[in-house]
Subunit: 359 residues, 2 copies
C-alpha cells in the first residue's frame, strides 16, 4: 500500500463517460470500457477507485456518470462501496468533461482540492502516480490548474500533447496545448523531449476551477449551477436537473479551461500509463504475470487458443477455440457472436466497424 | 455439356480417402473434404461425379471409399444415384491408393479402360479435362499407364512432380517422378518447363494395371484378390474381406506402379485444376461469380463478415460476424466452436493444429 503525502484532503472525482466502441466487441454502449476487467481481474473503474482510497489518504470519491450507467455502478459496486463511501453525480446528458467536472466542483467547498481521474485508464506504477499527486497538490495549493503529463514512448497520433514552459517547483508552466498531431509532428514532439501526452488527469481547487470557468465559460457555469439548484438526491446519488444541463454546449475541460487559463501547470510523470484506447494498447499494457498467458514471442492469450508460429498476437475468447498460424502483431477477439481480427494500426478503426456502431 | 470422344467405354474410379484435416475446422474425419460444398454449391465429390457422367460418355462410376464414409455416400447421394447407377467398394482399411485402385481393377474386365480420379479436386475447365481424357485414352489403349500432368503455375513444394521424356502421340513418356521438392528445386522445375505436377489422375486398362502390380507388388495383388474372393455384396456395395486386405503394406499407386513401370506416360493438361489442399488454395480456386462475395481487392467472403482495409482476405463464417481490419492474405474460418486465423503459408500447417488432430 502506497499513499501520497500531503496535509491537504484530496477529493477524487472519477469520470465515467465514453461510448465504448474502441474495444468492441467486448465494450459496448451498455458496458463500456471502465466496467470491463481488461488488464487484470479488476475492472478499470475498480482499479481507478483502488488508487484513491481513504486508506491512501484520499477523501471519499465523487463519481460522475451518465444515467445509462447508474444502475451498473450502483449494483456492481454496492458490494464494495456503501452509500456513505462515495457520491454519485448522475449527468442528465453527456456534455463533455468540463460540465461534468464543474458539477463536482460546485458541490464541494471552494477550497476543496480535486483530483480528476478518467475511470478507464490503467496505471502500472502506483507509487509514481501518488508521487505525482503530491507534486500536483503542492502546485494546486498555489491556485494552479495542474495537468498530469504522461511521458510519451512513441509518436502517438491519437492523443493531445502539452509543451512544457518555465519550470515550477515539482512541475512546469504549460507553454502550449497541441491537438492530436500528424505522424511527422508526433515524431518531432517525441524527439524534442519537451512534450508530454495530456493524460486527462487534473488537480485544482474547486473554487479555482469554478472561477476560471466563470471567466471563460460563464454560460456553462450558470447552467451547471441551475441544474444543481434543482437537483434531486437519492441516497448517494445527486441528480442534477436535465433541462438546464441539456442546454450546455458540450466541451472538454482542456478546451474550456486549461487552454485558456493563465495558471495552467504540468507535472510530468512516468507511471506505466495507458488509456487502453485500442486492442493494441491493451496488449501493450498487459503484464507478463497477469490473467493472460504470455510467451517469449510477445503473444498474450486469454481463453481457449492455440498459437502456432505467431509473434505479437493478442487472442481473447469467451468460449470458441482460436487457432492461429503464422500471424504477427494481430489481435483476435471472439466475444458472443462477434469475431474481430485486426492489425495494430487497424485497431484504431474498431469503433467505426458496423458491429461497433450497432452495439 | 461437353463430353470426351472415344469409341472406348471409360470406367470412372472415384477415390474417397483422406483424413480431412487440412481444411479444418470445416473438414473433419467424419466429413472430409470431398463431401463439403467448397468452391460452388456442389460438394467436390458431386463435382467429380458430374465430370464423368453417362451423358458425357462414361460408364457408371466405381466409388472406392472407407467404411466410415459409406453411410455418408449412400444417404447423401441416394437422391442422385440409384444403386444401378454406381458401384461402391468399401475398403476394410486405409492402405493407400494402390490397393484401392487394384480392388476396382480386379472387379473389371481386363480390357476395361479405367479413369482414376480423386474425389476432392476442383477442375474449372471441363472441356480441357475431357480433351485430356481423350488423349490419355488413346495412349492407354496402347497399354500405357497414363498420368495427367498438371501445368504448374507456382513453385509448389507440396506436390510430386513428373518430368517429361520422349514425345508420344498426345503425350510424353515419363522420364522421372520427383517427390515433393524443396523451394529451390521447385523453382528450377517451374523455370525449366519440363515438369508437370502429378495430379493423381490416371488412365490405364484394368488388366495392364494388374499385370504391373503383379510384377512389382505380387504380395499386394494376392491380398487384394483374396479380399475380393471373400467379399460380400450389399446392394451397390462390395465389401472386400478385412483380414487379407488389412495385411497389405499401404502404398500409393505412384510408388507401387507408376515409378516402376516401363510403360508410364503423361498427358499434360491445363484445366484450372486445384486439389483445394489448403484454405489458401481454396481462396485461389474461387470464381468471382460464385457463392462467395468477392471484390477488387482479392477478398472473398461467405457468411456474415465486414472487411475494412483488407486485401487477399478469405473469410468464411457459419454464423458469427467476422470483422476484419487491415489484413493482407489472411484466411479466417469460423465454424461451430472453432475460429481459425492463418496466413497463406500457415495454411499448410492447419492439419497439425490441436483442433484438427482432435477432429
Amino acid at each position: 500500500m502506497t499513499s501520497f503525502s500531503s496535509d491537504v484532503l484530496v477529493h477524487p472525482v472519477i469520470l465515467c463517460g465514453g461510448s465504448g466502441t474502441r474495444l468492441w466487441p467486448l465494450s459496448t454502449s451498455a458496458i463500456p470500457k471502465p466496467f470491463l476487467p481488461l488488464v487484470g481481474e479488476q475492472t478499470l473503474f475498480q482499479e481507478t477507485l483502488a488508487r484513491v482510497t481513504p486508506d491512501a489518504g484520499f477523501a471519499t470519491p465523487i463519481i460522475v456518470a451518465g444515467r445509462q450507467h447508474r444502475a451498473l455502478i450502483e449494483t456492481h459496486f454496492a458490494a464494495h462501496l456503501a452509500p456513505a463511501d462515495y457520491s454519485l453525480i448522475v449527468e442528465p446528458a453527456a456534455r463533455g468533461t468540463a460540465p461534468a467536472i464543474a458539477l463536482a466542483a460546485a458541490m464541494l467547498d471552494p477550497s476543496a482540492m480535486m483530483l480528476v481521474c478518467p475511470s478507464d485508464h490503467h496505471i502500472a506504477d502506483l507509487p509514481a502516480f501518488h508521487g505525482a499527486v503530491s507534486a500536483a497538490c503542492a502546485l494546486a495549493q498555489e491556485d494552479r490548474l495542474v495537468a498530469f503529463g504522461i511521458a510519451p514512448d512513441r509518436p502517438e497520433t491519437g492523443y493531445g500533447y502539452v509543451r512544457r514552459g518555465a519550470p515550477l517547483a515539482g512541475g512546469y508552466e504549460i507553454a502550449e496545448f497541441v491537438e492530436k498531431p500528424d505522424l511527422a509532428r508526433a515524431k518531432a514532439y517525441l524527439g524534442s523531449g519537451e512534450y508530454s501526452w495530456n493524460g486527462g488527469i487534473f488537480m485544482f481547487r474547486a473554487g479555482v476551477l469554478l472561477a476560471e470557468l466563470r471567466r471563460h465559460r460563464p454560460q456553462m457555469i450558470e447552467q451547471v449551477e441551475a441544474a444543481l439548484s434543482q437537483s434531486v438526491r437519492e441516497g448517494a446519488a445527486t441528480l442534477p436537473a436535465a433541462e438546464p444541463f441539456s442546454k450546455i454546449v458540450g466541451e472538454s475541460i482542456d478546451h474550456a479551461v486549461m487552454e485558456n487559463t493563465k495558471h495552467a501547470a504540468i507535472v510530468p510523470v512516468e507511471m506505466g500509463w495507458s488509456d487502453i484506447g485500442t486492442w493494441a494498447a491493451l496488449h501493450d499494457a498487459l503484464p507478463s504475470n497477469g490473467a493472460f498467458r504470455s510467451d517469449t514471442e510477445g503473444n498474450h492469450v486469454s481463453g481457449n487458443a492455440d498459437l502456432v508460429d505467431c509473434r505479437g498476437v493478442f487472442a481473447l475468447s469467451d468460449g470458441p477455440r482460436i487457432s492461429a498460424i503464422g500471424l504477427e502483431d494481430i489481435s483476435i477477439v471472439v466475444h458472443g457472436a462477434e469475431v474481430l481480427v485486426t492489425t495494430r494500426d487497424g485497431a484504431q478503426l474498431v469503433g467505426q466497424l458496423p458491429g461497433a456502431q450497432q452495439s
